[in-house]
Every structure is written in C-alpha cells, then in structure tokens.
Symmetry: C2
C-alpha cells in the first residue's frame, strides 16, 4: 500500500528499530456503532474484518491517503471499555474545515470544539466526539 513498500527505494532500517506504524487499535463496546461512525462521519473505508486468535472481533478502517489503519476491536472478555477524558485521539487531515462542517451539518453531527482557525491563515483545527469517549481531531493545513 505505502509508496516506499511498493518497490524502488526501500530505506535502510536497522533490525533493532521498527520500520513503520501499521495501525492504531481502539477497543470498543459496540463495534457496529463505531464502524458506522468512522465510515459515515469521517468517510473511512472498512478494508478488513476478522477474528483474532484469542477471539476478539476486529474491523480495520482506512483513510483514502493513509497507509496506517485504525483497528477497532470488540473483546467483551476484557470488560466494558472506559476511556478517560482527554486521553487519546486520532487526528485526520481535511481539505476544508468549513466544507467538512457542512457535511457534519448534513448528517446532524456537531463539532465538539472549534473550528479554531489560526490568525496567520495557515489553517485550523476542530474536534468531533467519537463513540464511547474517543475523540477525533480534524486539521486543515494551508
């Protein structure tokens, strides 16, 4: 998927360090609800779904220009998910916060914070609440 892995130039990486980030994993209580949010609100594509060896149900989601995936995991044996406030977020690039805001309006979702535009005109950022206490940041860079 990623350009450096597609052929040609593979950089030298010592075996003692990691090569690349593959995915970020968030465990959730309600897998379908979360998958729906990341699909409908952010536009991510579900690219893979399977059961792990220990029996957790995994859905992998992808942004159009990203190699790295988001792994949503349902594994009730670990107990109910409780995400502490202000613990973690996923930050995505959008072309325009204004246009993305119109999309949110059209599906009845509101920014939880912002958009906050930088005074120098270089873009801005905003937040949306994802299900179960997770957060998503949207960044516009000009």
């Amino acid at each position: 998927m990623g350009c450096p892995r597609r052929g040609r130039t593979i950089p030298f990486v010592p075996m003692s360090i990691v090569r690349r980030l593959d995915h970020t994993r968030y465990r959730v209580n309600d897998l379908e609800k979360s998958v729906k949010f990341y699909q409908e609100v952010l536009g991510l594509e579900e690219v893979k779904r399977h059961k792990s060896p220990r029996g957790s149900e995994l859905a992998f989601l992808k942004a159009p220009e990203s190699d790295e995936l988001i792994e949503l995991c349902h594994f009730p044996n670990s107990g109910p998910v409780e995400v502490q406030e202000d613990l973690t977020h996923l930050a995505f690039i959008v072309d325009s916060l204004e246009e993305f805001g119109k999309h949110l309006d059209s599906i009845g979702v509101k920014f939880s914070d912002g958009p906050t535009m930088k005074p120098d005109g270089s873009g801005g950022f905003a937040f949306v609440d994802a299900p179960e206490g997770y957060e998503v940041e949207l960044i516009e860079r000009r």
Copy 2:
C-alpha cells in the same frame, strides 16, 4: 512527507471526508520517560516539539517509513493519566521479531507477550509494555 502528497498523483477525495490520518495522540504523565521509551526501545525519532495553544506540551515521534506521527501530550490540568487495560495499542512493523528481541535483550527490556509465530510461516506478533499502561504490538510479515 507522504508520497501521494509529494507531487504527481493526488487522488480525488470529496471535501466531506477526511484525507488522511495525521497522528495518534496519547496523553502521558511523564513526557520525558515516554519519549525515551519510544526512542530507545522502538527507535522512533522525535521530529517536533511545541506547546499547544491551551498549554499542553507535545512531542511528535515518527517511524522511519511512516507519514503518520505519534503525538505524546503532557497536560497535567486534565488530571493523572489512567489507561484501562487492553484499551489501545500502537502496532509497528519490524523486519524480524527475532532480531528485534535481541535488541530488547541488549537494553534489558522483555516482550510482555509472544513472540507468537504463525504456523504457516507468514510471520508473527509480539507485545511490549510502553510506559503508563499503553501497549505496543510488533508485527513481522513475511
């Protein structure tokens, strides 16, 4: 940084969806301890550090072949970080779990789980505990 953004082919992405994942953010209690872990154990590079508008201290870390960054955030105003067990992890690709294990041995760090190699010879996975309850998965794919 990323290939599709470097020129030539920029895919059409409607303004209503996100373009790409920029970073995953984890808040931590001890920023220096976490930065040291991601640098020394995983080999990530600190590429940026600054204070956010609300006063949080941010360090951005990068794997050699990744566009996406890890944002480590120190913001004591949000209270002490408490990461629920089995909540989230970052998964990185390594060339060889065996070689990576030798590196861990050399710095006195142990896998918390695995390596578990797949019976079909297609690789395997292992885990390492990161500071403050976060987890890291290492994946070898053949």
